[in-house]
């Protein structure tokens, strides 16, 4: 997801717009789209319900792109991830890098066997498409599709109730399948830290499927507010906030997404934009790192807050990039960039909060234990 987008005036509506209004959503502009911030239950309940049962999010604003089956090599020239080695039916997280090793966008890339399916951020969609088209043939944006995210421990049962063979899927598997007779692409992944699914389906059928899912036991609609607090607790990056062209994937703590094949000594080392810097950072460590931060007390420390190398006094060493009150933690949580030497969990730092100083402690990410179905 992206934090920025065009202003009001030219807002797009998703295929679920009428359903959102019917469900009492408070709609807000986001990345050029009109989307639910929350429904009648409110952000707190929606967040907690997602972790306890299941929440349905409309993420149709995100960009969906199809590429030919032979696109892996071309994609590897843009993304520092092992995609040639990605089996059919599997999905992988990655980033588009620029020549300086900064991040142009983050995305999911899936090998469907008969093609590659990408999901990119709404605010970066046009640039990503131009970037892809400059390097690959057969780039096809899917403009007539909706994207739903069904997240939480009750997600599998809800989806299975629509006749979807999802029980045997594990985290990051992706399949084409029929959902109540609708042809869909279903991935076992998400942006909440919970088990769950991301479901691409034809726009015309999206509302009917969404209604079926909302009627399943334990499923509640949730908006952007809960999506943001859930992803922060899960330690996941938001493009435009935690990552952008000024951050490298290694600084951002995304080195895990750079497979061994693409590192020095690997069969396809480098060969992506900014490889020199990124490979060097993988070996010697980056100068700074994205760190999890737990502020003392109950007041959230939000994006933009200055970080200091001591709870009191000290020098400014970085900024908070995302921060919220974590409903599952029942405490505030944040992320920000600090010098690598200060990124060790337990390190006591300071953050500026309304002209005062609040103590923040570096904490491991994610803040909550993930519910991914890995086996």
């Amino acid at each position: 997801m992206s934090a920025t987008g065009p202003g009001a005036g030219a807002l797009s509506r998703t295929p679920l717009h009428d359903l959102h209004l019917e469900l009492g959503a408070r709609m807000v502009p986001f990345a050029g789209h009109e989307l639910p911030l929350h429904y009648r239950a409110g952000v707190l309940k929606e967040h907690l319900h997602c972790r306890a049962a299941a929440a349905l999010f409309d993420v149709s604003h995100m960009g969906q792109v199809m590429l030919p089956a032979d696109a892996a090599e071309g994609l590897e020239a843009l993304i520092p991830a092992d995609l040639i080695g990605l089996a059919a039916g599997r999905q992988r997280y990655g980033v588009f890098t620029d020549a300086q090793g900064g991040i142009l966008d983050d995305l999911m890339a899936a090998n469907l066997g008969d093609g590659w399916f990408l999901v990119v951020n709404a605010a970066r969609r046009a640039d990503d498409l131009a970037h892809l088209a400059a390097h690959l043939a057969g780039v096809r944006p899917l403009d007539d599709r909706a994207l739903l995210a069904l997240q939480g421990p009750a997600a599998e049962a809800a989806l299975a109730g629509l006749g979807a063979p999802v029980a045997q899927m594990r985290f990051m598997d992706i399949r084409r399948m029929d959902l109540a007779g609708v042809p869909a692409i279903v991935a076992r992944s998400g942006y909440t830290g919970e088990d769950g699914f991301e479901i691409s389906l034809p726009a015309a059928e999206a509302e009917a499927v969404a209604r079926r899912l909302l009627a399943a036991p334990g499923v509640m609609p949730a908006g952007l507010g809960a999506r943001d607090s859930l992803r922060i607790e899960a330690g996941l990056c938001l493009y435009g906030a935690d990552i952008d062209t000024t951050t490298s994937p290694v600084e951002a703590g995304l080195a895990w997404s750079i497979g061994r094949a693409r590192r020095r000594g690997g069969p396809r080392a480098g060969g992506f934009p900014g490889a020199e810097r990124i490979l060097a950072e993988l070996e010697s460590g980056p100068a700074r790192l994205r760190a999890g931060l737990r502020p003392e007390g109950r007041a959230p420390v939000r994006a933009g807050a200055a970080l200091f190398d001591a709870p009191e006094g000290g020098a400014e060493v970085g900024r908070v990039t995302s921060g919220t009150f974590g409903p599952s933690l029942d405490a505030p949580c944040a992320m920000g960039y600090v010098p690598a030497a200060l990124a060790r969990p337990g390190t006591a730092l300071g953050a500026e909060l309304r002209g005062r100083r609040v103590r923040v402690t570096v904490a491991p990410l994610p803040f909550v234990k993930p519910g991914y179905k890995r086996a």
Partner: protein, 120 residues
């Protein structure tokens, strides 16, 4: 009678003491409130001073002193249980009480009809 500020605070005056809270409209706009910081009892405040802070999951908002005066009481209950402000913004969810010089000053604020017009 209850008066309202354009910053969505309500004011109730009795014997020179004004009780201040946020309106139901404001509470609904803020969403789930998770943290409240109140001024110190005894604080002398000027109209427009930032005297309290509200944090919802999504954003922070300031409460401004509606008038010059002295903070004489604060509602500790909403610090313990911020959700009370969402549940009962004009009752149990009051913020603080302040002593003011001249109760007539309240007449400059919006009455209920004018406030309703502002929020429609």
């Amino acid at each position: 009678m209850t008066r309202y500020t354009e910053d969505h605070e309500w004011l109730e005056e009795e014997d020179g003491i004004v009780t201040v809270g946020i309106t139901a409209h404001a509470a609904e706009q803020l969403g789930d409130i998770v943290f409240i910081e109140l001024p110190a009892v005894g604080a002398e405040v000027k109209k427009g001073d930032q005297v309290a802070t509200i944090e919802s999951v999504k954003a922070a908002s300031d409460i401004l002193a509606p008038l010059d005066g002295e903070i004489v009481e604060i509602n500790e209950t909403i610090v313990e249980n911020p959700a009370l402000v969402n549940e009962d913004p004009t009752g149990e969810g009051w913020f603080f009480r302040m002593k003011i010089e001249d109760p007539a000053l309240l007449e400059e604020f919006l009455d209920e009809d004018a406030y309703r017009e502002l929020t429609e």
